[in-house]
């Protein structure tokens, strides 16, 4: 009986995470009532906490599935708004063009990560560790560790990205839907799975393995730059401290909780989405019940370990069950 339940859960990995998310939501709902359900808190939960995790996780899921990782994306989050600010305030670029270049910068960082990983052959863990530090140094050096104000030219567009309370989560859900379809219903998605599932086999089938990896690094960089703009509008300034490892770590945690394997070939957008929702609810709910953020990391760490063990065990069960 237990085996059967576990087997069903194994096929429905996303369902498990979804149930956990709902359970946590109900728990905080019962415990905190209107404090939790108030509009302002729900906006904080979905738009401020959950959205950045979801959006960066979309890129990380694709990268993890094709057997790579990007540790640097959190610093793209930090540098992209600064680049926009420099272009507008120091070089006189029009607002929209500067926004465009800020996003393009994310793509460029992804290309550089791809170049070192695919073309030169440095493992992506090392590549992106390096590019992450370079970006951190760039942020701190060029900003002189000082925050900057958002240029007036780009204030208007902020409504579409962040100022409308539900805008961020709408972006996140829409992007997640697109990425889910890309992963499951397009050549790009199938080839991403192929590259991570059987690298040599994918190459022998004629799939452009390098192209897939380059592309997924560039997509992740683009998403990082977009989250950087969202964060800028959210905090209402351009802060050097916005660039850190945290967004990346949360995103990878969400992906892992959602069933994405570090070894490649396995993972879903839906799982990562619900994984991000679980993290968002915990980040929002714990301070509400009077627990500081400090012990939260213990829970996150535990959740990673539990879900990884569950992954391994469920995979084993599934293979035994179907053979």
């Amino acid at each position: 009986m237990l085996m059967r339940v576990l087997r069903v859960l194994g096929r429905q990995r996303e369902a498990t995470v979804f149930i956990i998310a709902v359970a946590l939501f109900v728990y905080f709902l019962i415990d905190k009532g209107s404090n939790f359900t108030s509009k302002s808190n729900q906006v904080t939960l979905w738009s401020d906490f959950t959205t950045p995790i979801i959006i960066i996780a979309l890129g990380e899921v694709f990268l993890l599935i094709c057997g790579e990782i990007d540790l640097s994306v959190g610093f793209v989050v930090g540098f992209a708004p600064f680049l926009m600010h420099y272009l507008i305030d120091f070089y006189g670029f029009p607002g929209l063009l500067a926004l465009f270049f800020a996003l393009l910068f994310g793509v460029l960082v992804g290309w550089i990560n791809g170049f070192f990983t695919v073309t030169i052959g440095v493992p992506s863990f090392i590549t992106t560790l390096g590019t992450g530090f370079v970006l951190l140094g760039l942020i701190d050096t060029t900003s002189h560790d000082e925050p900057a104000a958002i240029p007036a030219q780009v204030m208007g567009i902020g409504k579409w990205i962040q100022y409308y309370a539900w805008a961020p989560i709408i972006w996140a859900v829409a992007l997640a839907a697109v990425f889910h379809i890309v992963l499951t219903r397009t050549r790009w998605g199938l080839h991403t799975v192929s590259v991570g599932g059987n690298l040599l086999g994918a190459r022998e089938a004629g799939i452009g393995v390098g192209r897939i990896k380059y592309g997924n690094f560039m997509i992740t960089g683009l998403l990082g730059a977009f989250v950087g703009l969202q964060t800028m509008y959210y905090t209402n300034n351009i802060a050097p401290t916005a660039g850190s490892y945290t967004p990346m770590f949360y995103a990878v945690t969400a992906a892992v909780i959602g069933g994405t394997a570090m070894l490649g070939g396995v993972g879903t957008i839906l799982g990562a989405f619900f994984g991000a929702v679980v993290l968002g609810i915990l980040l929002d709910g714990f301070p509400l019940i009077g627990v500081s953020a400090d012990p939260l990391n213990i829970i996150f760490g535990g959740a990673i370990l539990v879900s990884m063990v569950a992954n391994v065990q469920l995979t084993r069960l599934r293979e035994r069950g179907q053979r």
Binding site: R185, S194, G197, L200, G201, E204, A205, I207, E319, Q322
Partner: protein
């Protein structure tokens, strides 16, 4: 034509009937020489067995013929026209398809997704699952391949079933030439029979010429019209299956081993 015919093989070559011909193919990996000088031809509708011990250069040759890697030197003629394969896709577009030793199937993808790997039916931007699923099922039924479901992830199939999927996939696009690398490796007798039957069926249909790479002589003799033996990066035997036997092939392989051993002993002395 005689000018391009390698000496010593003239009597075996029938230029009009050759679909594929290789001349003086060599391949080096840095300082390591995998193929020294390979001359080989494949007749239309023929099943050619390419035998050789591990490290003789069988797989290297196959990977050159299917466009996976270029030869260091030599020429390849496809239907009497010289060709240079730029990629696996390019070779495939010219009608050459390969089933690799490691099968190149993706365990995480389903049977039908594997059957259509890198040649998906699409209506941009989406893949058309229902069409691929139906065609895969029809195609597998046609070839007599029994599988639990075309929706099953390939990781859940047995070795023979995976091999069958890989072979069926290669035949799918109606290739002129099919290259099979160790199609019976690591397979039980019953599973091997599935694959041999599949090859026999293709042979009888006669639309495709096949090169089978193998080191298990007995099974291969059953389905091949002609045998080539590759030793030390060159072809050392070219005979019709009817004119040779498993014993002769084994003797040849052992003789080569003895010769190499003696040479080494001489050098050590």
């Amino acid at each position: 034509m005689t000018a391009t015919t390698p000496p010593g093989e003239a009597e075996l070559i029938n230029p009009g009937g050759d679909i594929l011909r290789c001349e003086h193919i060599a391949k080096n990996y840095g300082a390591v020489t995998a193929l020294t000088d390979v001359n080989l031809h494949l007749k239309r509708g023929e099943v050619l067995g390419l035998l050789g011990d591990n490290g003789a250069g069988k797989s290297t040759l196959l990977k050159i013929l299917c466009g996976f890697q270029p030869a260091t030197s030599g020429r390849i003629f496809l239907e009497d026209k010289e060709v240079t394969f730029k990629s696996v896709d390019h070779a495939r577009s010219l009608g050459i398809d390969a089933v690799y030793q490691d099968l190149a199937v993706i365990g995480q993808l389903t049977v039908f997704q594997n059957m259509f790997l890198n040649r998906e039916v699409i209506r941009w931007p989406l893949v058309r699952n229902h069409i691929m699923r139906r065609e895969a099922r029809e195609h597998l039924d046609e070839m007599g391949v029994q599988l639990p479901s075309v929706d099953a992830p390939v990781a859940t199939l047995s070795g023979g079933q995976r091999q069958a999927v890989a072979v069926a996939r290669s035949v799918f696009s109606n290739p002129k030439i099919l290259l099979l690398d160790e199609p019976l490796a690591a397979m039980g007798v019953k599973e091997g029979a599935i694959i041999l039957d599949l090859i026999l069926r293709l042979k009888h249909e006669g639309n495709v010429s096949i090169i089978i790479i193998a080191h298990n002589y007995a099974h291969v003799l059953e389905v091949c019209d002609r045998i080539n033996m590759i030793q030390g990066g060159r072809i050392t035997l070219d005979k019709l299956t009817a004119e040779t036997s498993a014993d002769e092939l084994t003797d040849l392989a052992v003789a080569e081993y003895r010769k190499a051993l003696e040479e080494r002993q001489r050098q050590e002395r």
